[in-house]
Amino acid sequence: MTAPFTPRLKLDNRDPRVACVLLLDVSLSMGGAPIDELNRGYARFCGELGEDPLARKRTEVAVVTFGGEVRVAQPFAEARELEPQRFSVSGTTPLGEALDTAMDLVEGRKAEYRAAGLEYYRPWLFVLSDGSPTDGERFENAVRRLSEMERAKGATVFAVGIGEAADMTQLARLSERGPARLRGLQFGPMFAWLSASMQQVSNSVAFGPESDTTQIPLPPVGWGTA
């Protein structure tokens, strides 16, 4: 008769973290159907991420909105604590300042993880814009800082253009992987994809140092075109 093996286990280790910052364009041109669909999609994102047993504890989401002014609409919170909110539109597109704010958030969060002895995965920056950045020089500096961060594998950046007026040339400068263009106003499917992707990352174990997230099998992008 085999003796059962019932060792003592360490059951209170804290989960590793993956930080995800959403940069949402809420400039005036997003008014009407686009902002309504964006709000609906964000609520879906909060709901779906909050239901995944691992992602709800591991994913930390922050939201930076840019429309006239840049606002941290959601400071970092675990997905299980995330509450949907409705964003409203105003003003221009200060994307450069929004990028700086998001990078500050990510760098600050990493420092907090390290101080707390928490393991973490590579953070995500997810940029949504329907126009052109309106803060010229600030934007140029932010792009340089972001490229440096991405090259050092400090974060994974996704850029998504919304509608015909989205400046895909500028968005292309934000991400090594190239921007995607949202198909119509399919914010719902896009946020569902983002939630599923964060679930994949939360569940991921080992990936090679030469790899980036292209090797984490992300779900297919049905909501946009490259």
Partner: protein, 242 residues
């Protein structure tokens, strides 16, 4: 030495209908007892085959003359690189312990866990350098794999038990995953279990199947203590595990 070992497919891989991407093997060679575990990279197509190839090759090499531990790694790497012109789909980690008459040598590429019982306590052996992120590791197939190989050696007379685990258990057998410290009570209980007459690989397997690991990853545990009876037999054919 008495060897007990088991691998189980994690819940996440079972859900996706995937094979167990962990593998283990052991062999009694002229250089001593060789124990090897490998964890196939979850995102790679042929990771399970890579892992099985690596442990089989590691256990087939160790002969007298050369440094048996380094020979095991060289041969495992060669075997996996030889599977295809592009070996990336076969990526896996590899941890090997050679229990020789004079020394116990431990080596690792990647994020496995090796523990040695020494002076009544558990200490981690051959811990590899880690990157910034929790899910990054070096694989046997990586270009700089041999530079990333961590090796540690102990006088055989001081070692009273060894244990190897893939990272599927790390959240419950490490005290502080970020620092990589062992949770010593687990290893104390593991070695004391392995010394019992009624201990068997089935006991380990039942434990691995039920442990609340939080991730659903594949899990492998190999333990060796002095003694000769009741050990596990590795799969005869690494391509066709039982």
């Amino acid at each position: 030495m008495r060897v007990l070992a088991a691998s189980v497919t994690g819940a996440a891989h079972r859900r996706l209908g995937q094979d167990c991407q962990d593998a283990w093997a052991s062999a009694r060679t002229p250089a001593g007892l060789v124990l090897a575990i490998a964890d196939g990279a979850g995102s790679r197509e042929h990771a399970a085959k890579g892992a099985r190839t690596a442990v089989a090759a590691a256990c087939a090499t160790a002969g007298p003359g050369n440094d048996p531990l380094l020979a095991a790694f060289a041969s495992a790497r060669q075997a996996v690189l030889g599977l295809a012109p592009d070996p990336a789909p076969f990526a896996c980690t590899l941890s090997v312990v050679v229990v020789g008459a004079a020394e116990v040598a431990a080596g690792q590429i990647g994020d496995g866990i090796v523990a040695v019982e020494q002076g009544g306590g558990a200490r981690s052996a051959a811990v590899t350098a880690r990157g910034e992120y929790a899910n990054e590791t070096v694989f046997l197939t990586s270009r700089d794999a041999m530079d990333a190989l961590a090796v540690e050696r102990f006088p055989a007379s001081e070692v009273t038990g060894v244990a190897l685990s893939t990272d599927g258990l790390r959240s419950v057998i490490l005290d502080d995953p970020a620092a990589g410290n062992l949770y010593e009570p687990f290893f104390t209980d593991l070695w004391s279990y392995a010394r019992r007459e009624s201990a068997a690989a089935d006991g380990l397997r039942a434990f691995l199947s039920d442990v609340p690991d939080g991730t659903g990853d594949d899990k492998t545990l190999v333990v060796a203590v002095p003694g000769t009876t009741g050990g596990s037999r590795p799969p005869d054919n690494p391509d066709d595990p039982r």
